[in-house]
Amino acid sequence: MIPLTRKQIAWRAAQDIMDGAVVNLGIGMPVAVADYLPAGRDVVFQSENGVIGVGPAAAPDRIDTDLVDAGSRPITLRPGGVIIDSAWSFAMIRGGHIDITILGAFEVAANGDLANWDSRIPDKGPLVGGAMDLAVGARSTWVMMEHNTRSGAPRLLEHCALPLTAVRCVKRIFTDIAVVDVTPEGFVLREALESISTDELHARTGAPITIAADFRPLAVPVLD
């Protein structure tokens, strides 16, 4: 069984973004989702520092330190893009004007609770940024993460052990072995790698998971 790479997880998440959606991609792994939108899908990317219409990363000779995204990455602005101030940007986020946010995570609980901001690193200061605002405010909060920790512990749990980012907010999870929905009845397995058995998937998931009626294999292309 070969799990998906992070790029492949990003590719899979990108396939579910609707044409015309307003999307906020979290710092780190989720930013790659923008690279894999299916052709013909026109999506507006918002960044929490007020950029609406984030374009591709800036080429090395076109870097402008005043034009950055929430992860401090030099970016470009799409035609028709606009920049607003932070108070307005978060009013936009809380006000339900972002269709989808895709965030990284440490843990997700079967009721949709999300833990993605505090991994309890000793002595380091806290960093929450806009994670709580996005998780609560976006119409749909999706997560991409590895299904298990490096030591093999499940990240999909009955209850989060780490400090929460927001309660009952996650709707869909893209992992390196599966696509899982969070429903009022708990986790529902929508897709899984063909090479992983149902038993193994249950063993690697820390809460009950039911198989969707329209379950199908998780298939992604080979990516560089």
């Binding site: 034009l67 929430a70 932070s86 108070a87 609770d113 806290p126 994670a131 605002d133």
Partner: protein, 225 residues
Amino acid sequence: MAIDKRVANAAAAMEGVRDGATVFISGFGGAGFPNVLIRALREHGPRELTMVVNSATHRLSFTHELIAAGMVRKVISSAARGHEKTLSPFEVLWREGKIELECLPQGTFAERIRAGGAGIPAFYTPVGFGTALAEGKETRRINGRDCVLETAISGDLALIRGDVADRLGNLTFRYAQMNFGPAMATAASLSIAEVRVTQDDPMEATRIQLPGIYVDRVVAVGGRA
């Protein structure tokens, strides 16, 4: 007398800033850090400051110099984790209990400042409910949604970064320089903007991104056009 908010230099702009001030500092992700003004504040040397800044540890902001100089009593921010494995000046003092921290979700941080400049003493927000950052805060269920009561932040001094200012204090921003600047300028009794360039002629109305009535002093410091 014609309004003219231009001052000769950053040092002159600090006139009247005192110990114990609540100081807003703009900037996010490398854009909009008023680093010339921050250095001038450090030279001016007020103590016991409460610093309202989105990140207490961003490597491109000089805010860490105020912290390292022992001028800051308390930080209100959404990000206080250094970039390196070794601890940042903030983290060293925070771990030793020598500096207080109030950590907020970034949108709550921004809205509390906006409220401070907008005459709203407090507001309810669903953000943070059920998390460690809402501990001790009043909560209330409104229209079926659990919310947290957050109070406004207003202060004594805002240091912000813009692109162009006219003599009336009207400002433009380059791209993502804007971030917290407008809200902070509204919430402080003294707002100082460092800009690339100042001009005598009043700007055309359609260019103005922050009205000069929110800006008390402007200093031209150069920078990328």
